[in-house]
Amino acid sequence: MLTLKDLAVSYGPIAAVRGVNLGVGKGEIVALLGANGAGKSSILRAAMGLAPITAGRVTLSGVDITGRDPAAIVKRGMTLVPEGRRVFAHLTVLENLTMGAAATPSLRAKTVANCERMYELFPRLAERRSQMAGSLSGGEQQMLAIARAMMAEPAMLLLDEPSLGLAPNIIDQIFDFLTAVNRQGLTILIVEQNADIALEVAGRALVVAQGRVVKEGTSAEVARADLASLYLGAGAAA
């Protein structure tokens, strides 16, 4: 579904991603693991058209989307739940969800129905629909960020550190939700520092260090590996 070929990302003279190859098949959950600053987020941001790609190709369902505008990529069915949730703090919950459905006229027409669907999935959001998103708890904001992305009815969902800073029971809820929507056919690529939880839901995983993939395999294989030394880039030399 999503293929990255020899992807490189640089911010000025700083190379964040150096030739990453990655494929996510339809219906899969794939986890991208690695330490802070390894380049995981840059990979997602580049795929989404938010980070400068210096080399390589990004294809979504066979269509080359390298360096396309994020708005165009959303319309092609892929969307990102950004790191740190990034809900619009001074928009209400309902307005945040409305923004999530802004991409195309047909999505806009379904805004009300899709909001109701999100409220059923996340009842906490229903209670707070008229509140400013900034007044929600961290967990509720993460639910809102995911619900907002789901409003675009994506076929492929990218998530950047969805567990960051959240209580364990909230993390469980969020990952249960991801497992459930994956069963309904949503393809997911998830960046996580919390390897345990990510490997639990993902079928396959890749470990990234210093902008390169240093380990790739089924979740069981990656779980058996010495993640600590991989995180430090030990695998790069191997």
Partner: protein, 296 residues
Amino acid sequence: MTSEIIIQQLVNAVAVGGTYALLALGLAIVFSVMGLINFAHGELMTITGYGIFFSLAAGLPFPLALAAGIGLAIVAAVSMERIAFRPVRRASPTIMLLSSFAVSTILHILMQNLIATRPKAIAIPEALAGAVNFGTLQIGAIQLLSIIITAISLVGLTLFLNRTLLGISIRAAAEDFDVTRLMGVDANRVIATAFAASGALAAIAGILWIFQRGSVDPLMGFTPVLKAFIAVVLGGMGSLGGAVAGGFLLGFIEVMARAFLPDALQSYREAIVLTVVIGVLYRYPDGLIPRQVSVR
């Protein structure tokens, strides 16, 4: 009698402050969405003035001439964005600022050379010259109209920003531009709309300004927009509510200084007004209503 004077001056303050508020709001909308301080904002007022002048000269009735002036300012604002600011959108704030200086200067020179350096008179309908009596209280028709127009504009803009998807998108973009693009929203469309709104606000403020002075000249926009900048800083850079609050507060300080400072101090009025502004900023360094940006 004293209370009447005070009420009279309060009405003045609301009328003057409203004009500043509209101008400041136009600056703030553009700043909040793309981080550009548009020094050419005053030229939009001037363009409105010439739009009205030439429409009247062509024989259009007054209300239609006003509409033409507003339309012209909106077209000018959107064109400015398309021609001058879009190419430097990703550049540093300094470069964007310099671009807006350039636009402002080019428009000055064009208007001075192609139209006139001297003011062109715009005849204001007689109905606006009079005053309206509320009991013993007498309020100028122009002031009353200014207040009504300001109120309608602010309510209209609030409805637009809260009830329409494009308006909500502008608020979202003001908070987090990248994530707004992630929603599949066309960035160009949001920015163009913000400019169109700022053009309309500048035009309405320009009309109120022209009602007061009855003429248009190439430098007409300079002073009011300078005041609007002060209002924006006073209210909190990029905060829309702040721009309105800053505009009204500045108008209030100015009018009260003009009305109640002793004659001996009147020549220091501007300095005294700005001292009060500095005093307010000393107490509220981020402005009255600081910009609301989500924590990243």
